[in-house]
């Protein structure tokens, strides 16, 4: 068994960026433009994150942009990244997940990022060889840290949601974008949030029939606060583009409507949809059956905050009820030396993420140089970020789940997919045993204790524990950002104690 490599002798990077989606790419390219050395660590095999996810070279896609908006911006970033890699200023570590970050006090380079391959080596183990999948470890040291860790999808359970053929809306889009495959021929798209329109447009352009798009919220609510919309004409254009694409394919959008049950035994064969009242309570008597062979469902996005929470960054509850890292106008978190950009600071879409990545890098460059007059150089960018953030907040509020969605749960509806815990058990934990938070529900029922560590059931458990479907998503601390073998954990160096002059 090879031993763990010693602390790498290489000099620390000026900046480590975690995540190579729109925000991380923009941050890495901009920091390198400013002359800083950058380590860009990403769990994917290719840059782009989920937004710019695209097929591997082997699939020979000659027009990957057919699955994307804003592709030229991505191509521009890739060009800058390539030049900086060739120039030795950027190191891009692909297919590596940061599973923990340690703060050092006894050597230069404040942050040490511990990474493990996203996918362990796949060679067949020889007889007698352990199959733990423990993979080579690599550490990266840097003076400053940018967290651009993106999101995953918020799921709200309903009867039948664990059937094969029921997939995340973002998941269906990810599978098309990278694998050029569809989950079925006839795909209902449901949930809430503007991502649904993009997913429906993608699936439909890729050849699926989309019998219906069901939005649980209402797009008319945007009109109640026209300010942010009028200041962001690009967002109106984006909405109009999706609407036109759907109309062209004769895809019908129903608002204030939800899938309240998926039917089938080994895979989904159809769904029951129902009208919702203002509070997202299903209206009895409005049920309708829609045949389909797949359902793409999701209720917005949840920022991935494992590293931020581990580092102690303060969070806020965004208007969609999800936790987000709190940042100041320079995108500094509450922890000195740590910046955050993109969806990590609150879901707001790719254009905002690109600008936040750029802004974080420019602020870092100014801080690194100790430039006191740097304020004016970023003032314009800060204003654009603030304008886009105002729209993101409106969008988040419009699509936030209403208090009544739990009305479509049945007692035997699975809440936790990993540990197979149903609604009756979670409700009993809350009602009979007095649990009011996800952690207590987990200890009583195992909901959230499985492989996904509560990422899928967490939003629902938060609601059931609080007794309201509008309850904020709990900012659960997970000591490790991804599962690692115990042997690896045992070899983690003990962090040096802080010097007396620090953290006083």
């Amino acid at each position: 068994m090879p031993t763990s490599p010693a602390e790498p002798p290489a000099a620390p990077y000026d900046v480590a960026v975690v995540g190579a989606g729109p925000a991380g790419l923009a941050a890495a390219a901009t920091a390198a433009d400013a002359g800083l050395t950058v380590a860009l660590v990403d769990d994917g095999p290719r840059p782009g994150g989920q937004y710019y996810r695209h097929p591997a070279p082997g699939l020979g896609a000659r027009r990957p942009q057919a699955l994307h908006h804003g592709w030229p911006a991505f191509v521009g970033l890739l060009g800058r990244l390539r030049a900086h890699r060739a120039g030795g200023r950027v190191r891009h570590l692909t297919e590596r997940q940061v599973w923990t970050v340690q703060e050092a006090h006894d050597h230069p380079g404040r942050w040490t990022l511990h990474t493990a391959p996203t996918v362990p080596p796949q060679a067949a183990p020889r007889p007698g060889e352990p199959t733990t999948g423990e993979a080579p470890h690599e550490t990266v040291r840097a003076h400053r840290l940018v967290l651009a860790t993106g999101t995953y999808e918020r799921q709200l359970p309903f009867p039948g949601w664990t059937l094969p053929g029921v997939v995340g809306a973002g998941g269906a889009q990810a599978m098309v974008k990278s694998g050029l495959v569809l989950p079925g021929r006839s795909v209902v798209v449901a949930g809430s949030g503007p991502l649904l329109l993009a997913v429906a447009a993608t699936l439909s352009a890729a050849g699926a029939r989309v019998p219906r798009v069901l939005e649980a919220g209402g797009y008319l609510s945007y009109a109640h606060r026209p300010g942010p919309l009028l200041r962001n004409p690009g967002k109106i254009a984006e909405g109009a583009r999706h609407a036109a694409a759907l109309a062209r394919r004769r895809v019908r959008l129903s608002t204030r409507t939800a899938v309240v049950r998926a039917h089938g035994t080994d895979r989904v064969t159809g769904v029951t949809v129902a009208r919702l009242d203002e509070d997202w309570r299903p209206v009895p008597g409005t049920e309708q059956h829609l045949p389909c062979d797949a359902l793409a469902v999701g209720h917005g996005l949840v920022p991935q905050l494992e590293l931020a929470l581990e580092l102690g960054c303060q969070t806020r509850t965004a208007p969609d009820g999800t936790p987000a890292v709190m940042v100041d106008a320079a995108l500094r978190t509450s922890v000195a030396g740590v910046w955050a950009a993109g969806e990590t600071t609150g879901v707001g879409g790719a254009p905002l993420a690109l600008r936040e990545g750029e802004l974080a890098a420019r602020e870092i460059a100014a801080a690194a140089r100790g430039a006191s007059a740097a304020g004016w150089t970023t003032a314009g960018l800060r204003a654009r970020v603030a304008r886009l953030r105002a729209f993101a907040d409106l969008m988040a509020e419009v699509h936030r789940p209403g208090p009544g969605w739990t009305g479509w749960l049945r007692e035997d509806t699975e809440i936790c997919r990993c540990e197979e815990v149903d609604a009756a058990a979670v409700r009993a934990a809350a009602d009979t045993y007095g649990a009011t938070d996800t952690r207590t529900v987990k200890l009583l029922t195992r909901a959230g204790m499985g492989w996904c560590q509560g990422r899928m059931c967490g939003p629902a458990v938060s609601c059931l524990a609080a007794g309201s479907g509008r309850a904020p998503v709990s900012a659960d601390r997970r000591p490790l950002a991804r599962p690692v073998p115990l042997a690896r954990l045992a070899r983690l160096p003990e962090p040096a104690p802080p010097r007396p002059d620090e953290h006083t």
Binding site: P55, A124, G133, V167, G179, L180, V181, G207, C418, M456
Partner: protein, 104 residues
């Protein structure tokens, strides 16, 4: 001509590879994940849960939900949505925790 994802991006893929799935040979395109290769063959579930023995497959598609766990070349609990398909891989549906070998 029916629309499909490959046509949409004008895909001109490298020659297909093949993987063994549950005793049958399935084609895959180089660069596809195991989950994508299975979807392309119309297979949507390849795992049964530990308690209810219920069928599961890819759900989140980005490596977060771990619902798509599968045994690849004898190694259980691999995320099919992340593991690239390689020519000659032996892919086995996973039952329960995938560690029945330890009970022997």
């Amino acid at each position: 001509m029916p629309r499909d994802p490959a046509g949409l991006v004008r895909s001109r893929p490298q020659p297909a590879i093949s993987i063994d799935y549950a005793g049958s040979t399935l084609p895959a395109l180089p660069g596809q994940s195991i989950a994508a290769a299975l979807w392309a063959a119309g297979v949507l579930s390849w795992r049964t849960t530990r308690d209810g023995r219920r069928p599961r497959g890819a759900f989140c598609g980005i490596g977060v939900c771990f619902d798509c766990l599968i045994t690849v070349n004898g190694r259980p609990n691999q995320r099919a949505c992340l593991v690239p398909a390689r020519d000659g891989d032996t892919v086995t549906p996973q039952e329960g925790h995938g560690r029945a070998d330890l009970a022997r």
